[in-house]
Symmetry: C3
Subunit: 173 residues, 3 copies
């Protein structure tokens, strides 16, 4: 079966670099599933620029919300990197989608897959409680999503200063 690896961490903690390295170790070429949404031409240009910089070993798929479909369509072909679950969640919430249902579909896809996937997400709940209600709702949703994916992932890491701290498997598994 395909392995699922979740890499979480704070901003600029080196999550994406670890994810890129581990995805290519699983297989080369690989798919890069980008979940950022291009709101305007400037952002679209930046996304294209990032894509160009990543090099020929990556085939980029831009999919702001249809992540499950992107995983299913690429399964069995090559390893996949998902960068990142935080933007996917943000897009789903912006569209007022059913986050719990989408999370359940993602969990099912991870359990059924044949190719490795490395998923990047963010820790956003270790600061003081935000005064903004939307920010509080987002950090709750992010925490629930991270728990659900970590539950089915084979390996979970917390990136700290670019270094991977193993979170799962652990002594309690």
């Amino acid at each position: 079966m395909g392995k699922s690896i979740l890499i979480t961490g704070g901003a600029r903690s080196g999550k994406s670099a670890l994810a890129e390295r581990w995805t290519l170790e699983a297989g080369n070429p690989a798919f890069y599933i980008a979940t950022c949404r291009a709101y305007d031409d400037e952002m679209a240009a930046r996304i294209a620029e990032h894509q160009g910089r990543r090099g020929p070993e990556w085939q980029t798929i831009a999919e702001p919300t249809r992540l499950v479909e992107a995983l299913q369509e690429t399964d069995g072909q090559a390893p996949r990197l998902v960068d990142c679950l935080t933007l996917w969640l943000s897009n789903l919430m912006e569209d007022e989608a059913d986050v719990a249902a989408e999370t359940a579909r993602l969990v099912a896809a991870l359990e059924a897959q044949h190719s490795t996937v490395v998923l990047v997400t963010n820790e956003v709940g270790l600061g003081i409680v935000p005064e903004n209600a939307l920010a509080r709702a987002f950090r709750d949703a992010q925490g629930r999503l991270n728990q659900a994916i970590a539950e089915v992932a084979d390996e979970v890491y917390l990136a700290v200063a670019g270094q991977p701290l193993k979170v799962k498997p652990n002594a309690h598994d």
Copy 2:
């Protein structure tokens, strides 16, 4: 002697679920010491609802500030879960209580106890420095409290995406 286990982590990191599981593994039935303060009827109703959902293995004690007394009164009977030190601290600060003195009393109670206790707390200091002075004071107080309890705890865990990362004992103990 009774074992003390501290579980810290961010918002929605799965701390309480881990704490509930480990408390019941230490003994069933168990005490659930809830430190949240019911400010109004709506909140009181929500607390009662949570209590009902927890099931018959838990005997709930609501104690927003008199945590040390609750631990002493239940000691020798069954394991205890304290959920959570963050609300306890918040209530003490709201009442302008002597936090350092209360912390010292809690440390002494943990060192003298005969039953296991699992304490839930929060990490609130890993974001950018808050602009709000009260928020800065709270995160300093939370950090000091967490250090004091971790110092006497037998085991300390950081919950990350629902997974327990062992913090103590460690190679430096």
Copy 3:
């Protein structure tokens, strides 16, 4: 060669106490390189008070920005504690210095040194995205700096509730 140890963590997570202990274990007396900037007489008085409290085993060097020079001047004499990289970075940004160039010089100094250095830094990127643009720029810069130093450090720890969680070396090194 001199060993480099990086201790990161949130506010009031016990980073400095760990750093002081480990520096003195490497050698006594030791240098305390303080990077805080005295903006006024009150702050200068507080810094002097802290310095007095640290005891005779420490020789304090106040250096808000010329950290690399302080490390070079003390090298070969005794272990050094740097408290902390976050204030150093903040001072560099305030002075509109070239942070990337200063980081490269610091990395080179750590690679060439003969005495042990223990460096304290902060995790500031694990909360919700700050609304303030300057705060976002700072947390990005802090993350990049932490990664660069962790990359060359022999050991990296995350302080959690006063306890050192080993981040490097890890299974992926």
